[in-house]
């Protein structure tokens, strides 16, 4: 068991581990090890037997699905401090429903499902944390399905911007895109060309100011009002 102190601190703060007693947390660490991933390497592929879930410690991991024709679509982007694949621990004969691939040099903590399920029996608070996070994710996915199925590309992009805005009212609002335009476009089910075209038209209309990967929204109300126009 050689996990760096900084990583232990990250794990301790994670909502699925924060409510555990010290003894329970140590037990969770027993079933945990860290792995380095080089860019482009798969952590797991869709359909592989699933015995662990993960917390990303550094870097970026993309969750992807591949169409029959071979086109890869990004279903989710994981940032440091976030967990993924924890839902698999409640499935019979669990397999991973998506593939996970490192987008940059990354480090993950692998936590064994059986160890964690045993701990859950002893920590009601952690069960509630897990339920809350799974419910939040379910809700997000419902919204995503709605956007992808029903909304125009412009609407999808504006919703994506809105969801990244800080909730307070510091104006002007700024969003820093951590993902590439290819990744963002894939997530929103559009081509990179379409993504840039929409951003350019919003920029020409003065609704947003784009500077490299940073995007400024001088007037949030005006941006959101575009959702009513179409």
């Amino acid at each position: 068991m050689t996990i760096k102190a900084a990583h232990i601190a990250t794990l301790r703060r994670h909502h699925l581990l924060a409510s555990l007693s010290e003894q329970q947390f140590q037990a969770a660490l027993e079933g945990c090890r860290t792995e380095q991933l080089r860019p482009g390497v798969f952590l797991f592929r869709r359909g592989e037997p699933a015995d662990s879930f993960f917390v990303l410690l550094s870097g970026q991991v993309n969750l992807t699905v591949t169409s029959k024709a071979g086109a890869e679509k990004i279903a989710g982007i994981v940032r440091p401090g976030e967990s993924f694949a924890e839902a698999v621990m409640f499935l019979d004969a669990p397999v991973y429903p998506v593939s996970a691939r490192a987008a940059s040099q990354s480090e993950v903590a692998r936590i064994r499902c059986d160890t964690f399920v045993a701990l859950l029996r002893g920590s009601t608070e952690t069960c509630f944390q897990l339920l809350a996070s799974l419910s939040r994710r379910l809700h997000e996915k419902m919204r995503e399905i709605e956007y992808l199925a029903l909304e125009s590309a412009t609407h999808r992009l504006i919703h994506a911007m809105e969801s990244r805005l800080p909730s307070g009212q510091p104006e002007p609002d700024t969003i820093e895109f951590v993902e590439s335009r290819q990744e963002l476009a894939s997530r929103l089910s559009m081509t990179p060309e379409t993504l840039s075209r929409i951003l350019r038209s919003l920029s020409d209309a003065g609704v947003i100011i784009v500077n490299g990967r940073s995007l400024q929204i001088p007037d949030r109300i005006r941006l959101l009002s575009l959702l009513d126009d179409e």
């Binding site: 590439s180 963002l184 840039s196 075209r197 784009v210 990967r213």
Partner: protein, 463 residues
């Protein structure tokens, strides 16, 4: 935004007559290293595709051939009259365009295309037309009428028909090499061109629809006299080109072989060089031209002047540009590109350039990925070279630095120049004074982190 007036102060110019970089880039090409190779270039190109709105593209095409040598020239070129050499070159250039095209996302528009040389019109109109078609197959060429296709013309060899062909294939900007009309000078530099042919070419270009027509002159050439250059200036001014580039001849025969043909005793004295510069500034100012900075002048309505007013002017390898926001792809032998925060230069000789492309790989020679300090200093040097005004607070905010602490050494180095009246410490920081506008690069040199470590003889004299 900018400081406009320029004052010729002979005493100051004499005292500051030292070598220095021209800052067509920062860091300068001297800093490029072969640690930057093909893989680094691919990485830079890939990253440039990843912004939410990727930058538009600008493409430079180098045509290295000339049918005869001009003795003052320091460009990368090959002297030949054999047209088959152009065909051999074009085969490799086509291959390079295919390989470059694979690196950039297909929706990135090419807003600017520049043909330089050598002599671009060493190629036939047909070859140039095909070449532009080849770019169109591998890049998305902008359909905007404001897009810029420019070409360097040699008035000695180009006909009215060729010029018309060039306009038809899409060129809308041109620059003409003149240097000096004085027959004695033309003889001494091996470049004979007639006044009527040259002036007619400018008229034709204007008639066909070329804009921002630019002429190149050089002072300090062998056999040059104040009277002769005055006549040249008057003659060119009669056709009122939108832009002038008036360069100082740098005699570095140990670096540029053709210059060994120039006899040192034919070169004008330092006093005459100064008078030629003074004359140029007087005449162009009197004719209503605005001094942009570093050898460049333009009419007040030209977009270079407007860009200087709007704060959108950039310094680049061609001098000054209004499209510095583009990623620049350099194609052809020895060309330099600038993509994101990286510079890349192609192989500098034809055999090396051909060898790489015959193997099917991009002919990357060397390059550089700039660091954070380079980016900060580049910003400062651009402000000086483009606007003559350096805004401390805005610079500090853009880069999250304490300006006074970060540039303590540079500000110290500026003090004697401020005492000499080149600039003043005044809101919003440093303002270049009229007497300092001809010495911009001296002021910029105070901010150059590499200068003490490079040999100054590799750079031309300031004036």
């Amino acid at each position: 935004m900018s400081v406009r007036d320029v004052k010729f102060d002979e005493d100051l110019i004499r005292r500051y007559d030292r070598s220095g970089p021209r800052y067509t880039s920062y860091p300068t090409a001297v800093q490029f290293t072969d640690e930057f190779g093909l893989e680094e270039y691919r990485t830079a190109a890939k990253a440039s595709n990843e912004d939410p709105i990727p930058r538009p593209l600008s493409i430079y095409v180098h045509v290295p051939f000339c049918s005869s040598p001009c003795f003052y020239c320091g460009c990368t070129k090959v002297i030949t009259r054999n047209h088959e050499r152009a065909e051999a070159y074009l085969r490799r250039l086509y291959r390079e365009i295919e390989l470059q095209g694979q690196l950039y996302d297909p929706d990135r528009e090419v807003e600017q295309l520049h043909f330089g040389g050598g002599t671009p019109t060493f190629l036939t109109s047909r070859e140039i037309d095909d070449l532009i078609g080849k770019f169109g197959q591998h890049f998305k060429m902008s359909g905007d009428p404001g897009r810029e296709y420019s070409i360097e013309l040699d008035p000695r060899t180009i006909t009215r028909e060729t010029l018309h062909d060039l306009y038809d294939v899409g060129f809308n900007r041109c620059s003409l090499g003149i240097q000096d009309f004085d027959p004695a000078v033309q003889q001494a530099v091996n470049r004979i061109q007639s006044v009527p042919d040259t002036l007619r070419l400018i008229e034709d270009a204007r008639e066909f629809g070329f804009g921002s027509i630019s002429v190149d002159l050089i002072y300090g050439l062998p056999k040059q006299t104040v009277q002769g250059f005055a006549r040249t200036l008057d003659t060119v001014l009669s056709s009122r080109p939108e832009r002038f580039a008036v360069y100082a001849y740098a005699h570095l025969p140990q670096m540029f072989k053709p210059q060994t043909q120039i006899k040192a005793e034919d070169l004008p004295s330092p006093e005459t060089r100064l008078k030629l510069l003074e004359l140029t500034i007087e005449k162009l100012s009197a004719a209503g031209y605005v001094y942009i900075g570093m050898d460049h002048f333009a009419l007040p309505e030209d977009e270079l002047v407007l860009a200087q007013e709007n704060g959108t002017l950039h310094r680049n390898f061609q001098g000054y540009s209004t499209r510095g926001y583009c990623d620049l792809i350099g194609t052809g032998v020895s060309s330099i590109g600038k993509v994101g925060n990286s510079f890349v230069q192609n192989k500098k000789t034809l055999p090396e350039y051909y060898e790489a492309l015959d193997r099917g790989v991009l002919p990357v020679h060397r390059g550089l990925t700039v660091n954070r300090d380079d980016i900060i200093r580049r910003d400062v040097i651009q402000q000086i070279m483009c606007y003559g005004v350096l805004d401390y607070a805005a610079t500090a905010a853009r880069h999250d630095i304490d300006f006074d602490a970060y540039f303590a050494d540079a500000l110290e180095a500026l003090k004697p120049m401020v005492d000499d009246g080149l600039a003043e410490f005044a809101h919003p920081g440093l303002r270049v004074l009229p007497a300092g506008r001809l010495l911009l690069r001296h002021l910029a040199m105070a901010f150059d982190a590499y200068l003490p470590s490079v040999q100054t003889s590799r750079f031309s004299k300031v004036i």
